[in-house]
């Protein structure tokens, strides 16, 4: 999950931030696709809406992330007509993607819980 391989990493701090975002984005894409196939633009919109615009997805990093997930076999895609009769790629979750999603979201929740537990007493003290 914490694999750092974006070519844009410049400083160490930036590297960590992007790396984290990237891993998170993968998780969010998997989660978004759980409810059915979507095309790229719809995925971005869905994430933005569901996070109530807190998370601003950097649209340019969506496609590398999609390809990365395809490469790992976690999502698949098919081509189909979109609303206005144009071709679009619909991405969908694969069986191993579902499994991965369960693992990742579990990990994420444990991590978020742990971070929350660490942060809470600090707030009380302050």
């Amino acid at each position: 999950m914490l694999r750092c391989m974006s070519p844009r990493m410049a400083t160490r701090a930036e590297k960590e931030r992007i790396a984290l975002l990237q891993g998170t984005l993968d998780l969010l894409i998997l989660q978004t696709l759980r409810r059915g196939p979507l095309h790229g633009h719809a995925i971005v919109k869905e994430i933005e809406q569901r996070s109530e615009a807190v998370l601003l997805v950097e649209q340019g990093s969506l496609y590398p992330a999609l390809h990365r997930l395809i490469r790992r076999g976690w999502i698949g895609f098919e081509e189909g007509p979109s609303e206005n009769n144009r071709r679009a790629k619909y991405y969908r979750l694969t069986a191993s993607g579902k499994k991965q999603l369960a693992i990742e979201s579990g990990k994420w929740e444990r991590m978020a819980g742990a971070i929350a537990r660490i942060l809470r007493p600090a707030e009380e003290k302050a």
């Binding site: 974006s6 070519p7 790229g40 496609y63």
Partner: protein, 888 residues
Amino acid sequence: MKFRRRIGHRLLRDLGADLEEHIEREARENMERGMPEAAARRAARIKLGNPARIIEDTREVWVRRWLETLLQDFTFALRMLRRTPGLTVVAILTMALSIGAATGIFSLVDATLLHPLPYAHPEQLVRLEDDLPGAGARDVGLSLPEWEDFQHSGLFQFVSPTQYDDNNLTGGRAPQQVRLLMAAPNYFALLQATPELGRTFDPNFRGPGFLTEVVISDGLWRGTFGGDPNILGRSLHMDTDLYRVIGVMPPEYHDPGRDPRERNVEVWAADSYYGPPNFVPWPRTVRGMPTAIARLRPGLTLEEAQQRMDALTAALRQKYPGDYPAAAGWRVRLVPLQASVTGEVRPTLLVLLTGVGIILLIGCVNIANLLLARTGARRQEMAIRRALGGGRLRLIRQMLTESLLLASLGAGAGLALLYGARNPLLQLLPPSLPRLNAIGAQGPVLWFTLGVTAAAGVLFGLAPALQASRAPAAAGLRDAGRGSTGARKRMQRTLVVMEFALALVLVIAGGLLLRSFSKLTTVGLGFRPESVMAVMTRMPYPNDPMTDRYRTAAQQRPFFQKLAAGLRTLPGVKEVAFADNAAFPLAHDRDNQTPPLPLRVEGWRGGDDQRPLVDQAIVAPEYFHLMGMTLLRGRELSDLDAAAAAPVAVVNQAMARRFFPDGNAIGRRFQLGRGAWTTVVGVVADARAEKIEDSDVPEIYTALYQRGAHHLVIFFRGTMNAGQIEAQVRAQVQAVDPTLPVFGTQQLPAAVAASLAQRRFAMDLVGCFAAASLLLAGLGIFGVMAYTVGERRREIGIRRAMGARGRDVVRLVLREGMTLAIVGAMLGLGGGVAAARALAGLLFGVSWSDPATFGLSAAALIAVALLGCYLPARRALRVDPMASLREQ
């Protein structure tokens, strides 16, 4: 993996369109929110970012991953190799030698067998070989009417006779012998060869007799003619006749000859073969065109052409039954020119290629074994990696990267070695090998090396890789890298068995070649080459025989008398004998010899239908004594057997046996061609005149002073100075006739050795391969046994503590080692039989199934195995029972 990569390709290809689509949607959304179209689009583009960059980033998702793992594997492999420097050096050296050897041999094969001949459409070029199987003769040459028939057969674009010869080039500073090729005017058109200067012959020339035009080689132009810029049109005298130079062939041009002499012609002359000085009329039975080449019509395959040629010869045999007696079975074979140029070396090279292949295999097996032993030490590492989630494939890949790296380093070292040693290595090659100048590191050779390297790396890496990756994570961690699994041990033993089997194949092959060679060198030659030297000279053949000062034996006799007197005074000379060049023993260039004339033996049952062709030498009386040949019956030739006396001859025993069944040849008569009836006056013991391999070849020695000869060899026996003899003889010859060239000095022992050069080359190399394979097999068994002993220290200690004697311990070690060696040897015997049968054609005086060779080879292998077990056994003896028990 591959499947996903393909998906990646497709996705990347579509990505641009996908991004456009994305922008389109975003823009539409913006417009729905009330933005003007242009602004909406711009905003959408800004939000997505630079598409080129996105595409680039996405591409890296696919590309970067495997590049990165490759780099990781590579640096890790390097680190591992550095950690075991001993093993690495041994492995690299083994690979360097075997890949270097394989590349070297392959470069020979590439240059000689694989490279097409350097002429346009070489696949159309054939040599025509006339056979008379009924007369026991092959490749007897063709006659003018046959040549005409072939030219009009519709099978060929061109047919040209080829006759390699010497000529005397005079008019320069000194008379000089030049190598000449006499062909039809269409010769160069046939080969589609072009000169570097001037032109070649007009292929449509139809005048009678010889053309007065000649083409010369670059070497002759730059040497004898000093690179004269006005060489074109310059006249030169050959064999007293006047010719004009019309062209110079480039230095890289070589004729498609069968030996170095034929490939290095200096003057090309043409004959229309009509009218004098050719035979007029020219009967079909006079095969005055020794060899011929042809270019097939385009689109005609060799098989079709051969079928149509068979039909043609069948028709001709019917039409001219008198010229083609049914019993002779006249036939014409079309031989691809490539095969005729390289035919002789082909079997030898294939044997060498196979041998080097086996060496490479043994090398791979050896390294596999070494690596396998190391996987024992690396079990822990592998187990940890697996426990940490390293996939099995990933581990195999890591191991293969290591072995490929080893193989590549070895190949690099091998190539460097080969390149560094190329000059001494080229010196080792027998000069009779065709197309030596084409040897080099060209494309196919490098591809071969690359392929062999990859194959070797995979081959010796696969067993250890599978073995290592098989280690179950938990088990490997638990026993903490101690001991070996049964599977690995089995694999190691299998490898040693394979090694022994392969080594035995090579040792048997080497043994058979060695025995053949030693048989050849100890064979009774029938003559004594020691302290014999030969110097050549040649009398001219003018085109008008009437102007020939040496036309008859009687005209030649004064020359011989004067010359002999002078030669006997030379320092160190004890004996002198003249002969024609057919009398030169083991001579390879038969082409410039007068073709043997059909033989008719008085009272022989074979009769007229089947006139055999028998080797015929023309010799002076002193020849037999000088050569050390033994007279069995009758008398030798004498000075009195001169032009005026009745024609006489000496024959060898094979001739006497074959044609005079009662065994008494003396007093019997025979006729050569349409010559005079000749009486046999003596029988000499057989000498190996043609090839050392051939015993029992009938031979007729006629009298020089009765028949005369133009191509002369002067034999000397004594203690001459090899460096001066040619100049001394030249002075003597030119004192009698200043126009005669003197050349071609040879020492007979060297000539005998040269006739075996190719065999010697093959034997030396296969011998080296065999020795190397023994060494590798010995190392292999040593490694395994040393490992086993190390592993069984405890067991051995216990046995010693329980009272086992040293002998028992040694027996323990030997039994295991010997079992491997013997099983390997048994398998190897099977391979050895196959190899020996394939070699049968190259053997001499020893049968392919020679029990002594097989037995000795197996014994050598067992001896090596014993040696390989000796050190480990000694180590086992030194095991201290107490210490080994305390160790654990």
